[in-house]
């Protein structure tokens, strides 16, 4: 294969009900960095039906070009129509890199495309960089997060990777950026459409999955009661975090089991973990010590949690957290 033909960093701009998902803007931000190193273009692939209203947002977020595929078949995500559409764009335009959000949609779409065009796909990357030889260095966790691996796709193009929501950072939107929205024509082989959507049901309350959270605000015995957790909730809201709990507070009936962190609960690896009023029993540490950064607040300066924390503060959660919330609300 002639790799020189392959140019451009492409992002699958996932939309649901016409709303472009945050992960798409996050990927555009990363794509911009990569494309600037390579001296190539950032293209967003927007597939949908009557859903180009937000296309300028993609340009403001860093795209040079939005390839808009407007077809009724692409209104709601279904595997085969989307795979056909995106594959045609890739085969036609020959990008060097394709980034896809690791959502339930992206993780269904990505492998199927990589299979169809015979190239590599690296899942759930936490870091993407251009190496000295111009290849994309894709780093991802393996063995349940115990090991990190840097993966290359040297001989195939495009180099494809998926990235979980919340891992990359959006660039500030710049509405003065120049960019073009280009309507792209494709064709469908409808004989392959064998899956029919009966209905999409939104859960009344989205299931909270603390293992997917980017930031967790976790409370323990020191939080004392439901009243205390209310303070944590308010704090969590200001930084877009989710609230989790130690076993003590679940056993006490204050928090639900599905938000319990630890050996008998869930193992979490957020980018930032607040351990508030948590002493740091081994069974709790087992569930959170792989977090990227840990901030602990505890009254007891000998609490074992401080041994695992990157930043430890000896103090009263009930005083510090409300104050922090107030300051954040002001900012």
């Amino acid at each position: 294969m002639n790799k020189e033909q392959y140019k451009g960093v492409y992002v699958f701009a996932e939309q649901r009900d016409g709303v472009i998902q945050n992960v798409a803007y996050e990927l555009i931000g990363k794509a911009r960095e990569l494309a600037d190193v390579l001296g190539e273009e950032v293209c967003a692939i927007l597939a949908g039906h009557d859903s180009d209203k937000q296309a300028p947002e993609l340009i403001a977020a860093g795209a040079d070009r939005v390839l808009y595929l407007d077809y009724p078949e692409l209104q709601d995500y279904l595997t085969e129509p989307y795979v056909q559409a995106i594959t045609q764009v890739i085969q036609d335009r020959k990008p060097s890199i394709v980034l896809i959000g690791a959502t339930t949609i992206g993780r269904d779409l990505g492998p199927r495309i990589s299979g169809r065009i015979h190239t590599g796909l690296t899942a759930d990357c936490t870091s993407l960089e251009i190496g000295e030889d111009g290849n994309l260095m894709m780093t991802r966790p393996a063995f349940g997060g115990n090991l990190m691996a840097t993966i290359l796709c040297k001989e195939h193009r495009p180099q494809m990777s998926t990235v979980r929501p919340g891992v990359m950072r959006q660039k500030e939107r710049n509405y003065k950026r120049n960019g073009e929205v280009e309507k792209v024509k494709i064709t469908f082989d409808k004989s392959k459409f064998k899956v029919r959507l009966i209905e999409t049901v939104k859960a009344e309350k989205a299931k909270v999955d603390i293992t997917e959270a980017n930031v967790l605000v976790s409370g323990g015995r020191g939080v004392r009661n439901a009243e205390g957790f209310k303070k944590l909730q308010e704090f969590a809201k200001t930084i877009n975090a989710q609230v989790s709990s130690s076993r003590a507070m679940v056993d006490a009936g204050i928090m639900a089991h599905d938000v319990q962190v630890g050996q008998t609960g869930k193992t979490v690896r957020p980018n930032l973990y607040f351990a508030l009023g948590i002493s740091g029993a081994i069974q709790h540490l087992a569930g959170m010590e792989e977090s990227e950064y840990i901030i602990a607040i505890n009254k007891d300066k000998f609490a074992p949690i401080f041994n695992s924390a990157d930043l430890g503060i000896v103090g009263d959660v009930h005083k510090i957290i409300p104050l922090l919330t107030k300051k954040l609300a002001r900012e």
Partner: protein
């Protein structure tokens, strides 16, 4: 109806610990298990077997030790087991893995192929959809429930981030199943006894040679390569502050900015 369930033997990653001094993985004593999502897939097949006349074949690609999970599958109620094992398959990434497994599947007859959503050692969720692609089958991933309707139609419940979808698909097709779909049954005592007498078919490169390109197998056929792997290393003790609430708040705010949270 013929159902093939693809299963994988994986190390129980929740038991892997980091050596705090050397910063390396401690794998000694870590037991191997049937991958949880795959086991839920097998349970889903077994539930269909109870209701309809179904033959269940389990298929795995892996080293000889994977025999253990094949026996386990027998003891749970699988009818047939095939272990795809050859040094030529070693080092495969998801593309080459699905290429190899698909080649084996082409030799079998099936109405439904079930895989787990993802394996806990790699967490990629790619092999199921890539097998479907190789076989030109429709796929539904993240499946939590399934009903057999008239003829060859299945009604499937797929989990999404904020709820679920109900979808209809014609067999033959491939589904990737979540471990939250069900609670897999235990092996029965009789099942365990019988499992040891049953034969696990051994398939090698020779068995599928006529339907694969040897260059596309294993490490050689993998588009992606691991360039390096590393542990995040043992954690050094962080900073500890004993300060008043006002100052504590400032320290935390600064960290939040540094970490791009605000």
């Amino acid at each position: 109806m013929n159902i093939i369930v693809c299963i994988k033997q994986v190390p129980n990653t929740t038991e892997i610990r980091l050596d705090p001094v050397k910063g390396t993985l401690i794998r000694d004593g870590v037991v191997s298990i049937m991958n949880p999502d795959d086991k839920a897939g097998l349970e889903m097949a077994l539930e269909l077997k109870e209701k309809y006349g179904v033959t269940i074949t389990v298929l795995s690609m892996g080293p000889a030790q994977a025999d253990a999970i094949m026996r386990e599958a027998f003891a749970m109620g699988a009818d047939k087991a095939i272990l795809l094992s050859d040094r030529k398959f070693a080092g495969a990434d998801t593309w080459a893995t699905s290429y190899t497994i698909a080649a084996a599947l082409k030799k079998l007859s099936y109405d439904l192929i079930i895989t787990g959503r993802q394996a806990i050692d790699g967490d990629t969720a790619q092999v199921g959809p890539q097998i479907a692609e190789q076989l030109d089958l429709p796929q539904i991933s993240y499946v939590e429930d399934l009903k057999v309707k008239e003829g060859k139609t299945l009604e499937v419940r797929k989990t999404t981030e904020d709820g679920y979808q109900r979808l209809e698909v014609e067999m033959p097709c491939l589904l990737t199943v979540l471990s939250s779909a069900n609670k897999p049954r235990y092996m029965t005592v009789n099942g365990i006894m019988e499992a040891f007498d049953k034969e696990v078919e051994q398939w090698s490169y020779e068995t599928i040679a006529d339907s694969v390109n040897e260059e596309l197998l294993g490490l050689k056929g993998s588009p992606t390569r691991v360039a390096k792997s590393f542990t995040k290393g043992a954690k050094a003790m962080g900073q500890l502050y004993e300060v008043g609430p006002e100052e504590a708040v400032e320290i935390i705010l600064e960290k939040l900015k540094e970490k791009f949270i605000i």
